[in-house]
Point group: C2
């Protein structure tokens, strides 16, 4: 049995579908970060992790907030490189409809949704907020996890507070501050490793 894993990354990426693929870090508003996080969340050497759901809310101009969700079980056609992932995010932004959730391509969903609505919809899971000053991950039991991460900037205090109101536990990988995509790769491995040890013992 493998643990279902949810990852949320807050993003400041632009919400216009005209993404400049030559400038993901600049004019696209650090969309490269979201792309690498998606790579880290899903890819194994031989395919896609079916037991992962990735969530992001893009907060950039001109049409924020736009919520995008990728589901490992249904995800098709996307390649693991940043450019390919950014193209599929562009397709989601193109099909965005403020009145309802749309499946823009297989396994990718787009809708109008705030961070608070996302937390409310997922309150049956356990929220873990990545924070250098949180409890060391080695000492934390990870169960039905929904991990919350910032992009290159820490989550703003009001969102942190909201997450804490929804019972989020602060967890830390290390006193160092890692890229969000590296955190996700590490978390996936850490859960795999603990699952394997539990299945042996």
């Amino acid at each position: 049995m493998t643990t279902y894993r949810h990852f949320y990354v807050k993003s400041r990426a632009k919400t216009s579908p005209d993404i400049n693929l030559k400038d993901l870090p600049g004019s696209a508003g650090r969309l490269d970060i979201v792309a690498r996080c998606i790579n880290a969340a899903f890819w194994l050497s031989y395919g896609i992790r079916k037991n992962v759901v990735f969530h992001t809310i893009l907060h950039g101009e001109p049409n924020a907030p736009i919520y995008i969700r990728l589901e490992g079980e249904k995800l098709r056609k996307v390649s693991p490189d940043e450019r390919s992932i950014a193209i599929f995010i562009g397709k989601a932004l193109k099909k965005f409809d403020s009145s309802k959730e749309i499946e823009s391509t297989p396994g990718i969903f787009v809708a109008r949704k705030s961070f608070e609505e996302l937390l409310e919809e997922n309150r049956d899971k356990n929220f873990y907020l990545l924070d250098e000053n949180g409890e060391d991950i080695s000492n934390v039991e990870i169960k039905t996890p929904f991990f919350l991460l910032g992009d290159n900037v820490d989550m703003p205090p009001e969102e942190k507070k909201l997450a804490l109101d929804y019972g989020a536990k602060l967890v830390s990988l290390d006193k160092k501050s890692y890229l969000s995509s590296h955190c996700i790769a590490i978390l996936n491995w850490w859960i795999d490793k603990n699952e394997q040890e539990n299945s042996i013992s």
Copy 2:
């Protein structure tokens, strides 16, 4: 004190300086993999890891093998996205001179070198060859490490044998097969974590 870390990733990427930045996974011969490995090796939220050296040998057409080394202490100007890293690899390939090693941009070096020569030059370090069937990393003491990884294809048997002749130890992160870039992110964290625990105890 932080451990110096060397990572080598074998690559099948093309050795022509005319890199198609719109098609790193295709016509560039999976140069996207090398770019992501470099991202995983060096970047922290607030800068570059000074204690990392990254090595690759590109084995693709038309001018293989070309050896490229990035040194964290000297690395400048490169951004963490795939496109930026690929551009700097292109610059290295442009300045390549088969007769001597060139520093193509700050911290990036390019030369003619075989895998065997690389092993020979670094025999003062300990080689660890990533392999699903190796010893579990939790049980291995990591000292003066030089990690050896394949790209999307396992290292060929003759190179594995060569590495073993140079004393390489087979180590495993898990029975699952992870992307090389994810392995590097995990290894960096694992070493950080163990250093921190040792400094506390």
